[in-house]
């Protein structure tokens, strides 16, 4: 049965539908893989084998009864522990929410269950999705299945969706949900040799997702290949009246619309992303990508995204500002951790609870966010950052007058080792430099595997599209996928 875990969404769904295997067999195989890998990879905060089996049993019963099956029928997935799941602990990888069990299901996870998927468990992540290496989780680091050639040092799976990327790359799940605020789907996907797409802001409902930075947070799928991303995104997306920022648009048939033929399409190559000292392997993979898209029929056009260098500073003002406010609700009053020292008053309870409940990176961002919104600093930081955000969106808008999609590296380097960057938060933030501009502009963007670097670690290429044009992004991704022929996988060591 072990080969069942090599299958992706489409293969599992079709196999279940045709009776090649049962959904229960699939769930069992992945449950076993999860259990086996958990001690070494720590990809999950809690595992929910019963959830996966129950969903599988329903699908098998429906099939036996001749009922129509959903687009994700029989596919067990990992759920990033940022999505509220009814009756299952939801922590955002923070001690402050440890033991919190929501009485509600997030819109996105509910849609996936409605499409026939089941849940293998809640995936580890950077605490409150703040981090690029999954080292800020209160539940321990996730270890990437990947290793540098000839080395056993633990490698970061990326972040914040590091549990998601590790689980999919290690074949513990055929797919997983991620969320992307400033690269949290794309960067871990690139680090682990899988595909992941952040759709246009508003495509997926944020209702029931623990908020980090509301104007940036978007859910999206992380999977083995582009087609699986298309299938899963279709299941996740859609207008939700419970989210005021949700897009009131029909969900396109992205899977049916997939085509690797890029004839007549123009691909923009942003000069500003070719930064000084760009990693040689990354530069080479970018060149490979350009060649592949040309080969797929696209015309390559150099473009300017003039304000790119201001994107990261602007992001690290806007995201913490929103986070400082969004995280105010974790105060020990109604749910989650409460630290009430003897004789403590309300202020003491707040201080003790938040000091004990939040990790260092979360505290750092709350402090930054509080500072930039303070009287006297607001205009210099927050207002200025919003102006930059507008300029960045305009850069993209101008570029998309000419080109259909933009191709760039997903990250400036391949995955780093766990512990290598923790002491330097600024170096860590720089990892998001290529991912953040699309987030600020709310654009659809995806990472697809492009090859391995000299050390044998995966590299990703990023495709950024026009608002609402996930199809164009997916198609360019598919064209790369066909040519990159990325079949490398880490030999199992866990």
């Amino acid at each position: 049965m072990s080969e069942l875990t090599d299958l992706g969404i489409a293969a599992i769904r079709d196999g279940v539908a045709t009776g090649t295997f049962t959904a229960t067999e699939v769930a069992g195989a992945f449950n076993a893989a999860v259990a086996e890998a958990q001690p070494a990879l720590n990809a999950f905060i809690v595992t929910t084998p019963d959830h996966a089996l129950a969903a599988a049993a329903r699908v098998d019963a429906d099939r036996a009864a001749g009922k129509p099956l959903g687009t994700m029928a029989g596919v067990p997935i990992g759920m990033k522990d940022l999505f509220a799941t009814k009756g299952v602990q939801t922590t955002a990888a923070s001690h402050i929410l440890e033991g919190f069990v929501p009485q509600y299901e997030s819109t996105v996870s509910q849609k996936l269950w409605d499409a026939g998927a089941g849940m293998l468990g809640k995936l580890n992540l950077d605490q409150f999705a703040m981090g690029s290496s999954n080292e800020t989780s209160a539940f321990g680091n996730v270890v990437s299945p990947w290793r540098r050639e000839g080395d056993t040092a633990a490698i970061a799976p990326g972040g914040s969706s590091g549990g998601s990327s590790a689980a999919v790359a290690a074949r513990l799940a055929p797919a997983a949900t991620g969320t992307d605020t400033g690269g949290s789907i794309r960067q871990p996907a690139a680090f682990t040799g899988i595909s992941g797409i952040k759709p246009t802001y508003g495509r997926c409902s944020r209702w029931g997702i623990v908020a980090f930075a509301s104007s940036l947070d978007q859910a999206g799928p992380m999977a083995r290949d582009v087609r699986d991303c298309a299938i899963m995104l279709e299941a996740m997306a859609g207008f939700d009246p419970k989210d005021s920022t949700s897009l009131d648009l029909p969900v396109p048939a992205w899977d049916a619309g997939l085509s690797p033929d890029l004839r007549g399409k123009k691909v923009g190559i942003p000069r500003e992303y070719r930064v000084d000292g760009l990693d040689a392997d990354v530069a080479k993979s970018w060149d490979d990508g350009i060649a592949w898209l040309k080969d797929a029929g696209a015309e390559i056009v150099d473009i300017n995204l003039a304000h790119t260098k201001y994107a990261l500073p602007a992001y690290y003002i806007i995201a913490p500002a929103e986070a400082s406010s969004n995280l105010a609700r974790y105060d020990g009053v109604r749910y989650g951790l409460r630290d009430l020292p003897d004789g403590a008053g309300l202020q003491d309870m707040y201080a003790a609870t938040r000091a004990a409940g939040f990790g260092a990176e979360v505290k750092r961002r709350i402090l930054i966010g509080t500072y930039v919104l303070s009287a006297g600093f607001y205009d210099a930081y927050y207002t200025q950052a919003q102006k930059v955000r507008t300029l960045i969106a305009r850069d993209f808008k101008d570029a998309f007058q000419t080109v259909d999609v933009i191709l760039a590296p997903t990250t400036p380097t391949a995955a780093f080792g766990l512990g290598e960057m923790v002491s330097d938060p600024l170096a860590m933030y720089l990892n998001d430099v290529f991912a953040v501009p699309a987030s600020l502009a709310g654009l659809p963007a995806m990472s697809v595997p492009a090859g391995l670097n000299a050390q044998g670690l995966p590299l990703g290429l990023q495709i950024i599209g026009r608002p609402f044009d996930e199809q164009g992004v997916l198609n360019a991704g598919l064209a790369i996928e066909h040519r990159a022929n990325f079949i490398a996988r880490q030999e199992k060591w866990w």
């Binding site: 999505f83 509220a84 939801t90 955002a92 929410l97 919190f100 929501p102 009485q103 509600y104 997030s106 944020r206 209702w207 029931g208 997702i209 623990v210 908020a211 930075a213 509301s214 104007s215 009246p241 419970k242 989210d243 005021s244 920022t245 500002a321 929103e322 400082s324 406010s325 995280l327 105010a328 609700r329 105060d331 009053v333 109604r334 749910y335 309300l346 202020q347 707040y350 509080t370 919104l373 303070s374 009287a375 607001y378 927050y382």
Partner: protein, 499 residues
């Protein structure tokens, strides 16, 4: 105005008081501003709390259309600018009654801009008015409530009010006396109740005012102001202005300075107390709420809001005076509250039907009877229009009996008392008690003859020129007839017999 201007007479001279009010009015809707939870007053603690109101992780606000609609209608009622583009901001601070850790409000781009409210400074003289500017109206969430009396060492939190929609109505510092502040708040309450956007129940906390007060020498620039929070009656607002102005004059005249601060009013001691000064004021870190898109009103929405506005108090008052011919006093009293006006208009319609006349022909009778007879009688019983056992139909029945001469005005008083006592209709009481007015000339003449015979001396004096005695004869005749004599006929017969 200048000769009656309100002044504080300090030890060093005269001081003028400058007042601005920020009124929080709970919007009358069934559900909260950003959640579907109910807003009924008086439910069990925490019985009306949705996941959004409790700020559970991942919950998001969705604006309630009806709340927005009521704010826009309120803006229109005070002739204010309606901002078709407005935005919600977060006001960040920690408190146990504030689950999100921020209040969703509108600092930078409120939904309603400049407007004005006209206040009457003198009941008897409707021309004596003053216009008070309204700077803005914005929409925001209310907080919950802490309960300190449930446990010896712990405080409890009731989130029923958490997320309830409020309008904050901010006046210009245009008021100059306690009376003006009181008149403004009363008038605002009247307007809100007409529009139906707030029930104005100040004792239930549906409406409360933050009172900004400063003092200055007449004609000089504005002084430093203090803000007294959450004052919940017109009387208390007036008291706050008076006490706070006196206090400030005292401080300044003693060589001190007024500190910009938040104060609380203690009605038991009739004084304001410092709550917190500017130094430990919160930095609210306002910024646009990223969970909400800007609020954009389309023309159809705005048109519907305008079309749905009722006749407003000033217009109604004017119509009562001009079209119905009511006295300014009666027009003022009857339009001061929308429910009173509704009651009156119901009475008017019923009276016109019952008496077969136009409304204009019965309006004065109805208004006079209502404001003098009926309010007085209800008052004695400790009741008001809405707890009265007599409705507009019953009252119209009584007025019809007066109108068609069946009973006299003085008998009507007795009938009204019986109606209030028994709940029976005027017709039934008049029949049962035999109170019908007598127009039988023979009976009247007999009564007059008896009165004149018994008072021969007074008849002499009358005929000798003491005409004032005529009223005495009328009174004696009516008394003899137990008030049932038709007053017109009694007069006529007396005149004839006294020659």
């Amino acid at each position: 105005m200048s000769e009656t201007a309100y002044r504080i007479h300090g030890a060093t001279g005269e001081w003028e008081v400058v007042i601005g009010l920020e009124v929080h009015a709970q919007i009358t809707t069934h559900s909260k501003l950003f959640s579907g939870a109910s807003t009924t007053f008086g439910a069990e603690p925490n019985a009306q709390v949705s996941l959004v109101d409790a700020a559970m992780p991942g919950m998001l606000p969705v604006p309630n259309r009806e709340c927005i609609r009521q704010a826009v209608r309120t803006g229109m009622a005070i002739d204010a600018q309606i901002n078709k583009w407005s935005r919600f901001d977060r006001k960040n601070y920690f408190y146990a009654d504030l689950p999100q850790g921020y209040q969703i409000s509108q600092l930078y781009h409120p939904i309603v801009g400049e407007g004005a409210i006209e206040i009457q400074l003198d009941d008897k003289n409707p021309e004596n008015t003053k216009t008070i500017g309204v700077e803005r109206i914005h929409v925001e969430q209310d907080a919950g409530k802490l309960m300190h009396d449930q446990h010896p060492t712990m405080s409890y939190v009731d989130l029923n009010r958490s997320g309830v929609a409020l309008m904050e109505i901010v006046s210009r510092p245009d008021m100059r006396s306690p009376a003006e502040a009181g008149a403004y708040l009363s008038k605002l309450r009247t307007v809100l109740r007409y529009v139906g956007s707030c029930d104005g129940n100040m004792d239930q906390g549906s409406m409360r005012a933050d009172v900004n007060v400063s003092v200055r020498r007449p004609g000089e620039p504005l002084g430093t102001r203090t803000e007294t929070k959450n004052v919940n009656s017109v009387r208390f607002v007036m008291a706050v202005v008076e006490q706070e102005a006196k206090r400030q004059v005292g401080v300044i005249e003693d060589g001190g300075k007024i500190v910009q601060e938040t104060r609380l009013y203690d009605p038991d001691r009739n004084e304001t107390r410092s709550m917190r000064s500017k130094e430990d004021a919160h930095d609210y870190r306002y910024f646009p709420d990223p969970d909400l898109l800007p609020l954009v009103l389309d023309d159809a929405f705005v048109d519907e809001c305008r079309a749905s506005l009722p006749e407003l108090p000033d217009a109604k008052r004017h119509r009562y005076e001009t079209a119905l011919g009511l006295s300014p006093y009666n027009a003022g009293v009857l339009t001061a509250d929308v429910e009173t006006a509704r009651w009156f208009e119901h009475l008017l319609a019923e009276s016109a039907t019952k008496q077969g006349k136009r409304e204009g022909e019965v309006a004065k009778q109805a208004a006079n009877w209502l404001t003098s007879e009926f309010f007085g009688a209800l008052n004695k019983l400790g009741k008001d229009l809405f707890s009265s056992p007599i409705g507009p139909e019953g009252a119209a029945g009584l007025l019809a009996l007066i109108g068609n001469g069946t009973i006299s005005g003085s008998i009507a008083k007795q009938v009204l008392e019986k109606m209030l006592e028994t709940g029976d209709s005027a017709d039934v009481i008049v029949d049962r008690e035999g109170l019908k007015q007598t127009s039988d000339t023979g009976a009247i003449e007999a009564a007059v003859d008896a009165v004149l015979a018994a008072n021969a001396d007074k008849v002499e004096q009358y005929r000798g020129g003491k005409e004032a005695l005529f009223g005495f004869f009328v009174g004696q005749t009516m008394k003899a007839m137990q008030g049932k004599g038709n007053p017109g006929l009694v007069n006529q017969v007396l005149k004839a017999k006294l020659g």
